[in-house]
């Protein structure tokens, strides 16, 4: 069968070429047909929102209604206003500082985990990821409890006799915003750094030691040059998250800590001046991407790192037995554990207050109660929001699994420049600051006639969940032996049966991992969702409204439960994914 299809008879040349031409044409049509959904997605959900954002920025708002009157008025007011200039500068400055601090905390941690830990590596990595499963908003809100006037920090300092009166200096400052943004960014920088460090072949480290370089010089000469590109990506991620965040500044920043994101968000909400918001978004985008271009350029490395498989034991670290080196090792451990304490402190606060018999989220504790847990079930607002969140999450994962796998199959085969470009375009929403993406999508859906609500949220989340899931699946597909598919086709299976019987079983665990990640991303999203939400809020938006307008500790109970469930889920998933993501195959 196969031979008949592939080998073209050389006889009757003219007919042959005609047939070949027809066949080529059909192939081409087939390829275009296969890529049509991809092009549609890229146009409708990436390019259109960005284009509309740009167009809107040249229009005007008249009492909350957008008027199609082309001019540069918005840009003039953005540039002319000192407030906006200060805000833009403050936003970039705070974001860069927090990304820097997050990097300088997360990279050494990742290095420590990768090079010093053996058996508990996976646990150490999971412990950093797990907090991501508990509502970001609640974790930020918990910082208020820690840093506030009656908070933990003040009580501890007063108990220690360092201060005599509770200080208000810890909350509602730009410094608080900076610290909280750092806290948010650490896990993301950690993961990018960790995977990069793990990818440095053992033999290179050994070759460096062999050449007479001790641990430090091996690090500066070999490990850092080979990982700094990934660290720059982690840094950029942290920067983008910080720039697009309006939730943190509003929660812990107070008036002093306001950032540009908050102003953009308020153009959508209170003020209703979308064109001005769009103009500010465009200015922010240009500024941020200029900054990132510099960072990425600075981190460029020459040379190509072969992804050779490492075998055997990882290179050992030589430590002296003297007192000095023992003290140093001890200090390293203490420094290593500190970020974990910081990561888990908010979670501790959430759990603690879920049992606290008071509606106020502040110290001193009022006594033990289970009433918040009981009232969760009877609170229709929370339950409705939870149902909506899960509905959205399932929808996003369904879309992401099908579309993401489809796109992954297309991209894993295409290696042209065009393919690389369209992959970059498709991934763009991941790189957009949240507030910008939110506004752009809100504009697009309004133009496209999609009402705010479940569909809008699912589509909105899909813009950044699909590329993430796709990238994970592409990575898996690229590692797949291409002769597997050829063997299957050689055995007489068509494309669909080859996918179903051969490819799918191979990518299944990657798909499950991608789906879990996609669900997490959707489940906790508030910044973009806020722009798309209809009459029924999702849980994060519900909490966002609550922490702004009146808090009930029931959400603490909800997230204690969710935290427990996700802890179990991630431990189970960790089992499944262990071999796929982290494990090197052990010899039998």
């Amino acid at each position: 069968m196969t031979s008949v299809q592939t080998v073209q008879s050389p006889s009757s040349a003219s007919e042959g070429t005609k047939g070949q031409r027809l066949g080529k044409l059909r192939d081409r049509a087939g390829t275009i047909g296969l890529r049509l959904p991809l092009a549609g997605w890229m146009f409708l959900l990436v390019l259109a929102p960005l284009g509309l954002l740009l167009i809107y920025s040249f229009w005007q708002s008249d009492n909350g209604l957008t008027v199609r009157h082309w001019n540069l008025e918005n840009y003039r007011s953005v540039v002319a206003s000192k407030t906006y200039r200060v805000l833009l500068w403050r936003t970039l400055y705070t974001a860069v500082c927090s990304a820097l601090l997050a990097t300088s905390v997360a990279f050494p941690m990742a290095y420590f985990v990768s090079r010093r830990l053996r058996r508990h590596k996976l646990t150490a990595v999971l412990l950093i990821i797990i907090p991501l499963w508990v509502s970001l908003l609640l974790r930020i809100f918990a910082w208020k409890v820690i840093l506030g006037e009656n908070g933990f920090l003040n009580s501890a300092l007063m108990d220690a006799g360092i201060i005599h009166q509770p200080s208000t200096a810890f909350l509602y400052t730009r410094f608080t915003v900076f610290l909280t943004l750092t806290y948010i960014a650490i896990p993301f920088v950690f993961i990018t750094s960790y995977t990069a460090i793990e990818r440095v072949p053992h033999s290179l480290i050994e070759a460096s030691q062999d050449s007479g370089a001790n641990g430090w010089r091996t690090f500066t000469n070999v490990v850092w040059p080979l990982t700094k590109q990934s660290v720059a990506i982690g840094f950029s991620l942290a920067l983008l998250i910080a720039v697009g965040d309006y939730v943190t500044p509003q929660l812990v920043g107070g008036l002093d800590g306001t950032m540009l994101g908050s102003v953009i968000a308020s153009q959508f909400g209170l003020v209703g001046n979308w064109p001005l918001g769009a103009a500010m978004s465009c200015v922010l985008l240009v500024a941020v991407f200029a900054l990132l271009a510099i960072v990425v350029r600075a981190a460029r490395v020459r040379g190509v790192l072969d992804s050779e498989a490492d075998s055997g034991t990882p290179p050992r670290t030589w430590r002296g037995t003297g007192l000095g080196s023992r003290v140093r090792t001890g200090a390293a451990w203490v420094l290593f554990v500190c970020p974990y304490v910081v990561l888990y402190l908010p979670l501790f606060v959430i759990v603690l207050f879920s049992f606290n018999n008071s509606t106020a989220q502040s110290l001193p504790l009022a006594g033990f109660t289970l009433s918040w847990y009981k009232s969760v079930w009877s609170d229709s607002g929370i339950m409705e929001a939870l149902r909506q969140t899960i509905e959205v999450g399932v929808g996003v994962v369904a879309v992401g699994s099908i579309v993401g796998t489809y796109f992954a199959l297309v991209f894993s085969r295409a290696r042209s420049r065009g393919a690389a470009l369209s992959q970059a375009v498709l991934t763009l929403p991941v790189l957009l600051p949240g507030v910008v993406l939110g506004l752009a999508l809100a504009i697009t859906f309004q133009v496209g006639g999609i009402q705010p609500g479940t569909t809008a949220i699912i589509l909105g989340h899909a813009t950044f969940v699909v590329p993430v899931m796709m990238l994970i699946i592409v990575a898996r597909l690229r590692r797949l032996d291409p002769s597997l598919a050829q063997a299957s086709m050689d055995c007489g299976a068509g494309h669909i049966r080859t996918f179903w019987y051969v490819i799918f079983p191979e990518i299944r665990s990657a798909l499950i991992g991608a789906a879990l990640l996609g669900f997490t991303l959707s489940f906790d999203e508030v910044i973009v969702t806020f722009f798309l939400v209809g009459p029924t809020p999702t849980l994060p938006v519900y909490i966002w409204n609550q922490v702004r307008f009146g808090f009930t500790p029931e959400v603490n109970a909800v997230f204690t439960i969710i935290g427990l469930i996700s802890l179990m889920a991630i431990l189970a998933a960790g089992r499944i994914l262990r071999s796929d993501l982290f494990g090197r195959r052990q010899p039998a």
Partner: protein, 379 residues
């Protein structure tokens, strides 16, 4: 301890070799392993078990064995990437078992070459000098020398991914030699190259080693490579040293069944000895020996040690001469391998392509072996 070491030596049947001493490269050992044991996982057999080894200055020494025999672990113990559970590693008479690799005067040529991908050829080669704090102009001079040594002077500015496998190999070699270490360790350095390039590099390596007069310790699973290049070699199996000696020692006088089976093609015949005569368990074939043997043993006979001739005269079979039937003919190019049946006993023999041209399956032939080519292995 000394007693244990002696017992070990006796069991391993280490022969005193005088190969290098005569060439004037002798002297005290540059490297010595004493009862070195290393296991990676408790409860599993050790990767290296009680290995004793002495390597002389300027020697080309090979560690030969199948995969998993512990040869790479031995190399890593010498380099300092692992430290022994028991026993010690001595470099120039000093115990370096707890000395980190960056303070040992050895350098390694890695199987994967391990060239730093972000550094040019020049930077790669000068790296060991830079790490040892050697002055810039001295560095440039020695890098130039090292690159000249491997004929790669024109490639200074290239990055590793712009080089072919053989070129990377040369750069790895230059990087290992540039700091003039007392010992260079080579971990299957030719494993990734194709056959022709490998043979070419074997000669390059051998010449280089002779020129720079540095001790080479060479790990390989390729017996041909080990025999061709080494002054002495150690055959390893399951973490133990099976035999230590010159290539011809190991080839012609294997001391264990494993060595006889691993190096070259041998007939291993189980037999029982009575005085000067040994008869195979199946067969039966009767061999006359040079030395008396009593009780069970294994006879090891190289397949090329048999001479095969047409069985025109059935009468008057001399001692160690047998009639056999051809069961299989394998064309090797430079010869012909014959699988023969002598009664129940199967044999492999080799004859030249010219002699074997006329043989057909089922033909009867006469095979004979000289008594001095029979190696007796007592089980």
């Amino acid at each position: 301890m000394a007693v244990a070491a002696d017992a070990q030596q006796g069991e391993l049947n280490v022969r005193p070799t005088n190969g290098r001493g005569e060439d004037g490269v002798g002297g005290p050992p540059v490297l010595a392993l004493r009862q070195v044991t290393k296991s990676y996982e408790p409860g599993r057999p050790p990767a290296v078990a009680a290995v004793d080894l002495e390597i002389r200055p300027g020697e080309f020494f090979s560690l030969l064995g199948p995969s998993g025999s512990g040869k790479t672990t031995t190399l890593r113990l010498i380099a300092g990437f692992e430290s022994p559970d028991q026993g010690s590693v001595f470099l120039d008479g000093i115990d370096v078992s707890r000395v980190p690799p960056y303070k040992r005067d050895v350098s390694t040529v890695f199987q994967s070459y391990a060239l730093f991908p972000h550094m040019t050829v020049e930077k790669n080669v000068s790296y060991p000098l830079r790490m040892r704090g050697i002055a810039v102009d001295e560095r440039a001079r020695r890098v130039g020398e090292a690159l000249e040594l491997v004929s790669m002077t024109d490639y200074r500015a290239r990055l590793p991914h712009q080089l072919s496998g053989g070129q990377r190999q040369r750069i790895a070699l230059a990087r290992a030699l540039v700091s003039r270490p007392s010992v260079v360790l080579l971990d299957e350095p030719l494993g990734a190259l194709d056959l022709q390039l490998r043979q070419q590099m074997q000669i390059v390596l051998k010449h280089l080693q002779r020129d720079v007069q540095v001790t080479f310790i060479y790990v390989t699973h390729d017996q041909g490579e080990a025999l061709a290049m080494s002054d002495r070699l150690a055959v390893m199996n399951e973490g133990r040293l099976e035999q230590l000696g010159t290539p011809s020692d190991v080839y012609y006088r294997p001391s264990t069944r494993f060595v006889a089976g691993f190096i070259g093609k041998s007939n291993l015949l189980a037999c029982t000895g009575e005085g000067q005569v040994a008869s195979t368990v199946v067969g039966p074939m009767r061999f006359e020996l040079l030395e008396p043997l009593n009780g069970p043993a294994t006879l090891a006979i190289r397949y090329e040690a048999f001479s095969v001739g047409p069985s025109s005269t059935e009468v008057g079979l001399a001692p160690n001469q047998f009639v056999a039937v051809i069961r299989e003919i394998i064309f090797l190019g430079d010869g012909i391998e014959l699988v023969l049946a002598c009664g129940e006993q199967q044999l492999v023999a080799k004859c030249s392509s010219v002699d074997g041209a006329g043989y057909r399956l089922g033909d009867s032939v006469v095979v004979s072996v000289r008594p001095e080519d029979i190696v007796v292995l007592r089980d």
